[in-house]
Subunit: 275 residues, 2 copies
C-alpha cells in the first residue's frame, strides 16, 4: 500500500474524484429515473426532520417485493425509529439519521416454510442465497428512497451495525439460528449537497467479455484507485485516514470470522468437512 | 410440505396471486419513478430485438457506480451478447434473451488492490462482503434496466447460470481463486404483458420492530405462501411443479456446497477450523 504522502498525487487524485461522474450516454440524459439512480450517493449528514410514514412504508415495500432466488424472500428487516434505536443501542442512529433498518439474511424462515426435511444440509449455499437476496432487497430500498427524495447509506461496521458485529447484533435483536445480521441502512433527508462520488474503478476493470474470460486489471489501475481512496478519505475525514479505517476493520475481522463461521456452520463443527 | 392437491385451495391461491399488488400509499400513487420500481417483475419471455448499445452501457454503468463496503467494488461482470453466450456455452441465453451478465463476487481484486498483507485471513467475511456488494450492483442494474424499458430476470440455476454451478462457471470463465459466480442476469424486451407478482410474504412476516426483537411468523402464513407458490408454479409451468423445481435444486446442492466450500476456504482446508 502507498503510505508516502505525495502532494501532487494527492491533488491530482482529489481532482479526479471531484470531476468524475457516472457516464450516461448523451442519448439518455433526459431519463428522469436514470438520473435519480445515477445521482444516488451514500449520504452521511442528515437534517433532523423525520420521514413521513407513507414514504417510509413505500421504501420498506420495495424491499418486500424485491426479487429473490425461487421467490424465497430469505430476508428480514429490523425496523427502527430514532427513539427505538436509541432505546435498543443506547446511542443515536449513525449520522443521526431519523430511521434505520438492519438487514438480516434469513434462512430460518426458509426452513420453516419448506420444512426441514426438504432442505439438504448445505449451510454455505443457503447462507449465500440469503446474503444475495437480502442485499437485492437493500438496494431496492436504497433506490426507492432516492426516488422519493430520501437519502441513505449502507453500513457494515459504523456503530456496530453490520456483519463485523454479527454476534452483538444477534444478541440485541434476539435472532434465532439461521438469521444473520448483514448491514444497516439508515434513511433521512440529506443536509446540504450530495458529496462527490467515491472513486470507482473503470468499466474495463470491473467487466470483461464473457467469451474471452476473466481479465486481470491493467497495470497501475489499482494503485491509481488506492491513491484516490486515500486522498478522498483524507479530504473528508481530516482527523482520520483510509489506512486507519482499514486498520479498524482488520482489528474486528478475526472475531467476526469466527462468529460468522459458528453461525453459518453450527456451534460444534465450525465449518469442518465437505458437504 | 403440502402435497395433496386441493382444488379450492388451488383456485383461492391463484386468485390471491393474480389480485395481489405492491402496496403503495395513495399519497404516492402518482410518483412515476416509484411506479417503475413497483411494476418491476422477473420476465421470462423476450422479444428477439437486441438492446441498443447506449441503453446496455447505461445498465452496466449502474452496476459500476453501485455502493459497496468501503467502496471496494468487490464485483466483476462477465458480459455477453446472444452470440458470445452461445459460443461459450453451446446454447442460447436462458429464455432467448439478447444480453446477459454473469455476476461474480470478486475478492481477488480486493487483495490485489489493498495488498495481501493488508487483509487478515478471513475468507468467510471477505466472501460475504463480496456477495453483498455484487448483489447490490445486480439490483441496481435490474432497476436501471426497468427505468430504460428493459426487462430482466436473475438466475441462480436455470441453464447452469449461477452459484449452483459455480465450478462449471469458474472453468468456463477462467476465474482465478477468489472470484465466485453468483448469478446471471439476462436482459431483453418483454414479449407481452408482465406476469403477476409471485406471492410475497406479508410485511409483518418479513419485518419486525427492532426494539422488541425477532418475531416468528404468525401461524398459517407460511403454509398459505407455500400453497400460493405451488398453485402459481402449476399455472405457469403446466408440465412441472414447484416441488419438482425444488427437487432439481436439491439434486445439485450437495455438489455446489462442496465446491463453494473449497472455493471460499481453499483446496486443502475445506473450511476447517475457526479464524
Amino acid at each position: 500500500m502507498a503510505h508516502t504522502p505525495d502532494p501532487l498525487l494527492f491533488i491530482r487524485s482529489l481532482w479526479r474524484i471531484i470531476t468524475r461522474k457516472p457516464q450516461v450516454p448523451p442519448s439518455l440524459k433526459d431519463n428522469a429515473l436514470l438520473n435519480v439512480i445515477m445521482r444516488r450517493r451514500s449520504v452521511r449528514t442528515y437534517r433532523s426532520d423525520d420521514i413521513p410514514e407513507d414514504v417510509f412504508c413505500a421504501i420498506l415495500e420495495a424491499g418486500r417485493v424485491a426479487p429473490s432466488t425461487v421467490n424465497l424472500q430469505s430476508w428480514s428487516f429490523a425496523v427502527f425509529t430514532a427513539a427505538s434505536w436509541r432505546a435498543t443501542f443506547d446511542h443515536p442512529i449513525p449520522f443521526k439519521a431519523p430511521r434505520a433498518v438492519i438487514i438480516l439474511g434469513d434462512t430460518h424462515r426458509d426452513r420453516l416454510a419448506l420444512g426441514e426435511e426438504t432442505i439438504a444440509h448445505s449451510p454455505l449455499v443457503e447462507y449465500t442465497i440469503a446474503v444475495m437476496n437480502a442485499s437485492l432487497a437493500t438496494m431496492a430500498m436504497n433506490l426507492t428512497a432516492e426516488a422519493l427524495g430520501v437519502s441513505s447509506v449502507m453500513l457494515s461496521e459504523t456503530g456496530q451495525s453490520g456483519l463485523l458485529d454479527a454476534e452483538y447484533l444477534c444478541a440485541k435483536l434476539h435472532l434465532p439460528p439461521g438469521v444473520f445480521p448483514l448491514m444497516t441502512i439508515v434513511f433521512g433527508y440529506a443536509a446540504g449537497a450530495y458529496p462527490p462520488m467515491p472513486p470507482r474503478l473503470p468499466m474495463e476493470t470491473v467487466s470483461f467479455d464473457g467469451a474471452t474470460g476473466y481479465r486481470e486489471p491493467a497495470p497501475g489501475v489499482l494503485d491509481d484507485w488506492l491513491a484516490q481512496m486515500i486522498a478522498g478519505y483524507k479530504a473528508s475525514h481530516l482527523t482520520s485516514s483510509f489506512q486507519a479505517q482499514l486498520h479498524l476493520y482488520q482489528s474486528k475481522i478475526g472475531k467476526a470470522e469466527a462468529d460468522l463461521r459458528r453461525m453459518v456452520f453450527g456451534e460444534s463443527s465450525t465449518g469442518k468437512g465437505g458437504a
